[in-house]
Symmetry: C2
Subunit: 147 residues, 2 copies
C-alpha cells in the first residue's frame, strides 16, 4: 500500500472492514434470528468463545450491537441489534440466495415465507424503476476509476 498508488476507495471495502471478519456475519445472523445470549450464539455459529467475545465487543463499538443487562451480580447481558445492525439483514438475505442457488441447490436449509404469503424470492432492484439493479449500471466518482 505504501509505494505508488492507493487501493480503490470503496464502501464495500469499508463495510467489510467492519463486518467482514470471520464469524461476524454469522453472529449478526443469530441476532436476526432472535438469539440473544452468548451460549446460544456459540452453539449456533460454532465460533470459539474467546473469538465471540472479541467480535461482540467490536460490534458494540461499531454501533451494530447493543448490550443490555438482564442480571447483575453475575453480570450478564443480552445482545441486540441496533437499527444500523438490522439494516444488515439485506446482506444476509442476498448471501443466502446465492448459497441456495449455487451450493444448496437440492434443498435449502431455510426458506423464508414473506408477509405476502409466498416463499420469499429476494431480488435487488432499482428503487426508481424497479428493474434489476445490476442491469446496465455504470459507476461514477473517485472510486470508479480503473487504471
Amino acid at each position: 500500500m505504501a509505494k505508488g498508488v492507493a487501493p480503490r476507495e470503496c464502501s464495500v471495502a469499508d463495510t467489510l472492514q467492519v463486518v467482514g471478519e470471520r464469524w461476524t456475519l454469522l453472529i449478526i445472523r443469530e441476532l436476526l434470528y432472535g438469539v440473544r445470549r452468548f451460549d446460544g450464539i456459540v452453539r449456533n455459529t460454532g465460533a470459539a468463545r474467546d473469538i465471540l467475545t472479541t467480535r461482540l465487543r467490536k460490534l458494540e463499538e461499531a454501533g451494530i450491537v447493543r448490550r443490555e443487562p438482564y442480571s447483575e451480580h453475575p453480570p450478564r447481558y443480552e445482545y441486540h441489534l441496533t437499527a444500523k445492525g438490522r439494516e444488515l439483514s439485506d446482506v444476509l438475505t442476498v448471501l443466502m440466495k446465492w448459497g441456495d442457488r449455487h451450493l444448496n441447490t437440492a434443498d435449502p436449509p431455510v426458506r423464508w415465507i414473506h408477509v405476502c404469503g409466498e416463499r420469499l424470492d429476494p431480488v435487488v432492484v432499482c428503487a426508481h424503476c424497479g428493474r434489476p439493479a445490476n442491469e446496465g449500471a455504470r459507476p461514477i466518482g473517485r472510486g470508479a476509476l480503473t487504471p
Copy 2:
C-alpha cells in the same frame, strides 16, 4: 463443534465459506469493474501478491473465476467471472449501500447510474409482491430452529 449440537445449517454460512475470506469479495469487485489482470487486482485491492494467488486459485476451483491465457511463454492469464461469479454482484451492491449509509455518509466514493438514468438506489424486495424482503418474513426449515 464436536460435543452436543451442530451449528445452524445455513446458506449464508456456506456462501461465506466460499467468498468470506479476507480479500475475496474485493477481488470479485475488481473483476466486476473489468480489471482482469493480476497486478491490477493487487493495486486496487491492496492485497499481498501471495494471498491473491491463493485466493484466485480457490475461486477458480469454486467455479467463480475462469482463467484465460493471453500470452504463452511467459504464461500469462486474464481472470474473468463466470455466470456464478457475476451473480455475486448483488452481494457487493448491498454491502456498498450499507457502507454508503453508515460509513461514508458525507460522500460515497462511487455512485452508480442505473440504466433508467437515475442514481441507483438498490433495494431488496420480494419478487412476488415487490415489497421489502425484510418486511415480516418468517423462516421455516431445518436451519430455522432457535433452541
